[in-house]
Symmetry: C2
Subunit: 434 residues, 2 copies
């Protein structure tokens, strides 16, 4: 057996690590045989001498082989997965999963929890009374086959090496490496037996990648990894220079998703969900009319019905699909806030809005913290909109007047207003596909 | 308190770490508050973005402040310390310490043990029956004051952060960084209250630094650190392209040192010891005649007498100074070996000779392994010497015939013979001084 320090030394010196050595290193780390400090030295070396495509593939495969996979062999429909790199008011998954299911596809979406300024799909869905996200692999597969969609927590035995490596990267200032991010994202997608992976790589003030260029780099790394693996994949580079929807919270996001699923809330969140669902239909079962069919499914209630079936299959109160606020928890205080000045909305610090919501209790600062399903922010305008004093900029849902006042201050400080008209940013900057 | 990951991130990005942050990081590591994995990430970042002079000084000071120092306030003589970066048949300290003491200086030498192909001064001296190297700080100071020299094991509370960081560097492939080596070497020297630090930075096949250029780089980093600290320091870049003396072992080294101290063994080991002692005398107490005085002290028996006093002060059998083999342990098997071909000795793989001696049991592969004081190799010729078949190339001292035969093979394979005359290498390539 080779001295594992040689793997570290190779990467340290910018040399390519032998496939078998890298694989053994990763699997050894997952088994607890490679100590944290050696893996930390490797991660810093790999941060400063980024893994090449071949190494990233080997790392990804080893991470997947550290646990079990979810082949979904009993699911006969075309299977699609969709993943967002994380943003603010990013409720696309809540809409996409039932929408795609209503179009005849199967969606098996294993999700994570929110951290810092970004929300988590599981936290949002758990705002629905009774909704269970901790499903076994068998439950997940059965629900996908019977209902067409599931959104559940990633099971602990799926890609365990990713969880361990991500925690170590977070602890050692080595998160922001494109190949390491790509391996982390894609390992969890490739471990599930889907026919298509859709990625939403966010770019802007509310995203990890602050520019479309850096987001495109990550999108390319992920798509390239999927190509090497042999899995069809399309990645959008989408705008996160402002909150995508209006709701930044948990119950608030569910209520907004229901409006979108009812076809009653046109806008950027609806458009992005339609784009993803349309692309999935066209790729897996379609004739190029995917977007039209998606719009129809929102208009005719079939997407909303699929949402209701998914909620009930996972133990949630299905009335949420008909009358969200009859079942969702409400905050004690609701405070409207006005813009500080008139003009055109020129810029939004989406991360600051996300942090303000986290400050209210909607998100978590540390892993494992509880979240409050009721609180959050509804931020109304989009960049380019005209703001008038006296009109509402945002609605703060808080546990106390003090919390609400603080969040309102932060929201007002997070916007920049221009006296001149402002062009709205693109919704999608581009796509990368296998 | 700053997030210690910011220290790692700064070094990762090639930014200078703030003095106070770096100091807290190092002291926090020494206190066990900074985990190994975070320190490992820092070390890899510091390997790839080397510490600058200011950072190296802060690191060194923090390592020293992690423990106690040895000010030697009660020693009135001029105090000198001497350190070698490690080589093969490098018995200079055994000669230098009593030689300098016999010239009126005080030598407080805290030493380490051998590892890999390099021997350790403590291991050599412990070949003398009764010799104690584990002395308390009080014992060290008293002996320096009374006898003029001591060679003892580094106490555990002197620069404890260095031991911890060195072990972590060894475990994470981050040893070979010049600023980190310089901080490690100099922290242990600067923690002792001496008036002059002499360094012997070895260059060549038997040294860590394989070329005079890389050794000069390390010498400059160490001298620069001493200058910033305010401590006089001179560093020789000396040849380790072949064993320095003839003896590669423990008892064998002691016996050779006694011959040198008697003035009966001219050659490179004698010359280097005289150079160092002469330089110390000239710097601290002299009129430029240091080397002459050193030669006289070897010739008139005063250096040997100082050696005997040191041995007896540390519990060893003082007869070793008069008749070494009356007290030193002898190996069961002594085998002479001849060169494979005639010609001029052109090249010696000193590391291979060192490894052959370690293979006999004279050194250790892993920290904590025992060493056999009796075994080793006496390698006779120097580069440039004429070798004749039928004459002895080396004498193998072994525990068994098989061990001896294997070592003899390795020694023969470690030499390259040329039909044409070969120029001997320089003994010292140059000096760097504060």
């Amino acid at each position: 057996v080779k001295d594992p320090r040689e793997v570290v030394a190779a990467k340290r010196d910018g040399r390519r690590v032998e496939d078998e050595d890298l694989r053994e290193f990763v699997l050894g780390y997952a088994r607890g045989e490679i100590p944290d400090y050696l893996a930390a030295a490797f991660l810093m070396a790999a941060y400063l001498h980024p893994l090449d495509g071949g190494e990233t593939l080997v790392l990804t495969r080893a991470m997947i082989d550290s646990g079990v996979t979810l082949p979904l062999l009993s699911v006969s429909r075309p299977k699609v997965d969709k993943h967002s790199t994380g943003g603010v008011a990013d409720g696309v998954t809540l809409v996409f999963a039932p929408l795609a299911a209503s179009l005849g596809l199967a969606v098996a979406k294993l999700s994570g929890r929110g951290l810092g300024h970004t929300g988590g799909t599981l936290d949002k869905l758990e705002a629905i009374p009774g909704f269970r996200t901790a499903l076994s692999a068998e439950e997940i597969e059965r629900q996908v086959a019977e209902v067409g969609c599931v959104v559940a927590a990633q099971t602990e035995d799926l890609v365990p090496a990713d969880g361990a490596l991500y925690a170590l990267r977070d602890a050692t200032a080595t998160v922001a490496s494109v190949p390491l991010i790509a391996a982390s994202v894609m390992s969890k997608k490739l471990a599930i037996g889907t026919d298509l992976v859709l990625l939403d790589v966010k770019a802007g003030s509310g995203a990890f990648m602050k520019t479309p260029e850096s987001a495109a780099e990550l999108a390319e790394a992920c798509v390239s990894l999927a190509r090497d693996w042999g899995r069809p994949c399309s990645a959008a580079i989408s705008d996160m220079s402002q909150p995508l929807g209006a709701a930044v919270g948990n119950a608030l996001d569910v209520a907004e998703a229901v409006e979108v699923l009812r076809g009653e809330r046109p806008g950027r969140l609806t458009e992005l969900a339609v784009l993803f669902a349309g692309r999935a239909v066209d790729a897996l079962a379609g004739d190029g009319s995917g977007e039209d069919r998606a719009r129809t499914a929102l208009a005719d209630g079939s997407a909303l019905a699929a949402f209701g079936r998914m909620v009930e299959a996972q133990g949630g109160d299905g009335r949420v699909a008909d009358d969200p606020w009859s079942v969702l928890p409400r905050a004690a205080v609701v405070l409207g806030t006005e813009p500080a000045e008139e003009g055109y909305l020129a810029e939004v610090d989406a991360e600051a809005i996300g942090r303000a919501a986290t400050g209210l209790g909607a998100g978590r600062v540390r892993k494992g913290d509880p979240v409050d399903p009721a609180v959050g922010i509804v931020f109304h305008p989009k960049v380019g909109d005209r703001l008038n004093t006296g009109s509402e900029l945002a609605e703060i849902h808080a546990r106390s007047d003090d919390d609400a006042a603080l969040a309102a201050e932060r929201v007002r400080a997070a916007v920049r207003v221009s006296p001149d008209p402002v062009e709205p940013p693109a919704l999608v900057y581009g796509w990368r596909s296998t």
